[in-house]
Amino acid sequence: MSIGNRLGSPAGEPIDIKAEMRRAVDSLQSQTHTKDSMTSDLSIDEELNLHSIGWEPVELVCGVSLFSVPMGVWNWGQGEITWASAAYAHAFEGAIARIHRECAKAGGHGVVGVQVERSIHRHHIDVTLLGTAVRPVGAKRVQADQVFVSDLSARDFTLLQVSGWQPLGLAVGASFVYAPRRSIGMAMQQKSQNVELTNFTEAMYAARESAMERMQASALSMAGTGVVEVKVTEGPMDFARHAVGFAAWGTVVRLAGDTHRTLQPSMVVPLDDPSAAFEATALRGK
């Protein structure tokens, strides 16, 4: 979405930025203050997007939780590491509950631009959420359980609102699994063959699907119709390389009205490519 360099007033005239600057500086001479002061970590672009749909930032809010993982959980075993999956889910629940409370207390209707940080240690899983609570301008407070949390940027939130979708919350799912052992006999046999290793495939596949399924279940429990911007991460644990964790999360959405409203974007061709040579970078290979 391009905003352009001259925002213009609603009537469409370009703004004289020098005069605005003078006016702004002069205003410091008098000590007028607005009643509601806000704190926000949104950029000015994001704030302008929110303003255009009649929303405003209210307060910077956060939620943190740590959940312990008992000793011995990461020792090599079989199948899913259920303690770890449960700890991950609990840590997220705790963090989300706290950010909900902070948002409702500040008078926000939802939190956007949430930065999701998760760290998995041997004995605890930590989740930290930080975002800006927002509300329709001048709206009254709502209860903590009616608040939405989303890692969508304010800009994406604006686009979705314009097309008729509303965010409901963050759907999260995770699954941790042990890498299956290979017996020595099988290992020797497969050294020279190029074959699929079905044991491993099953284990990884199942864990990945499990994580996604839990995310979906989480979305359904919020009565959502879909999950957008799903992020999937996977990888072995730093402290236990035979244990692999899969996580999926995204924003749950639902149509506010009956149908989706199309945006009808225009196609633009920017004429600012300064490079002289033609370069099909894709064909260069990696």
């Binding site: 607005t34 704030e47 302008l48 255009s52 000793m71």
Partner: protein, 299 residues
């Protein structure tokens, strides 16, 4: 060129005496400033070095070594162990508290560096400072923390001097500053504050963090490590409160929060949260632009 203030370092005076300006602005930001009627007049900076560490009997950190440092007002929470008497080493009692001496020292260091930067700006006759960057670095093992605040001093064409002689300041520069003004906000000053929370773990926290909460090798179910979660929430809360108290009714825009924690062994830790942002004030009524038109680029 007004006479530079007498207590600036000599090198600064010499630098200002030459007519040409230096500025930390990139070319696009420089162009945007001129567009707004801001004329860059020089690169200004301020330093302050604070003692920071475990050394010395009178070091503020010494007070952090015992669990009796709390109780000076500010955040404090205590935790009681659920077991009966176990042993003399059993940590039957724990506490989270706010280390206000650390927060005050940080505030002093930042504040001094900031005011020195403003002095240089005033010496140049500037109205404001844009594109402020602030860093705090530990200098090696010397146990000191150096605060360095710098930016580009600007003059507003045909404008009177700033109220009370204090230049306005902002972290923003260039197009972002222009958009802020167009949106109806005027930057007043940069705002920064730190919160420092000390965690003295009690037995349950220590066990949970070390995974030893099991009887005879049988793992107990996991549990939330509430003491640390509380401390983390408190650290962020306190930082926001400190910054709000600097706002005096104005708003904080474009904030950035950075949290770090330092483990001190046996479940103890120290959490530091730095919150920075631009203090801004509305100078014209809320007048939102219409929904921008979406485009798809063919590049």
């Amino acid at each position: 060129m007004p006479d530079p203030a007498p207590d600036l370092p000599e090198a600064a005076s010499r630098r200002f005496a030459s007519g040409a300006f230096t500025s930390g602005l990139t070319v696009p930001d420089f162009a945007a400033c001129l567009q707004m009627g801001l004329e860059p007049v020089g690169y200004v900076q301020g330093f302050c070095v604070m003692q920071w560490g475990w050394y010395g009997i009178n070091s503020p950190y010494r007070r952090g070594l015992t669990p009796y440092g709390g109780g000076q007002g500010g955040y404090m929470e205590s935790w009681q162990c659920p077991h009966g008497f176990v042993s003399a080493e059993h940590r039957s009692w724990g506490q989270n508290y706010q280390q206000s001496w650390v927060e005050n020292a940080w505030g002093q260091g930042f504040g001094s560096a900031y005011s020195r930067m403003l002095e240089e700006a005033v010496a140049l006759g500037a109205h404001g400072v844009v594109g402020v960057v602030d860093t705090s670095n530990r200098l090696g093992d010397l146990g000191v923390l150096e605060f360095h605040v710098r930016g580009t001093a600007v003059k507003v064409d045909d404008a009177p001097g700033p109220p009370g002689g204090q230049p306005w300041t902002t972290y923003l520069a260039g197009q972002r500053l222009a958009k802020l003004i167009e949106a109806g906000y005027m930057p007043v000053s940069v705002a920064a504050a730190v919160s420092s929370v000390r965690v003295w773990a009690y037995c349950m926290t220590e066990y949970l963090l070390e995974g030893t909460n099991s009887s005879w090798g049988v793992a107990q179910a996991g549990a939330e490590i509430t003491q640390v979660a509380s401390a983390q929430m408190a650290a962020r809360q306190i930082a926001r409160e400190h910054v709000r108290s600097q706002m005096a009714g104005d708003s904080l825009h474009g904030a950035e929060m950075v949290v770090s924690d330092r483990e001190l062994g046996q479940g103890d830790q120290e959490i530091q949260c730095v919150l920075r942002g631009n203090r801004v004030r509305r100078f014209k009524d809320f007048d939102p632009m219409p929904v921008p038109h979406p485009t798809v680029r063919l590049s």
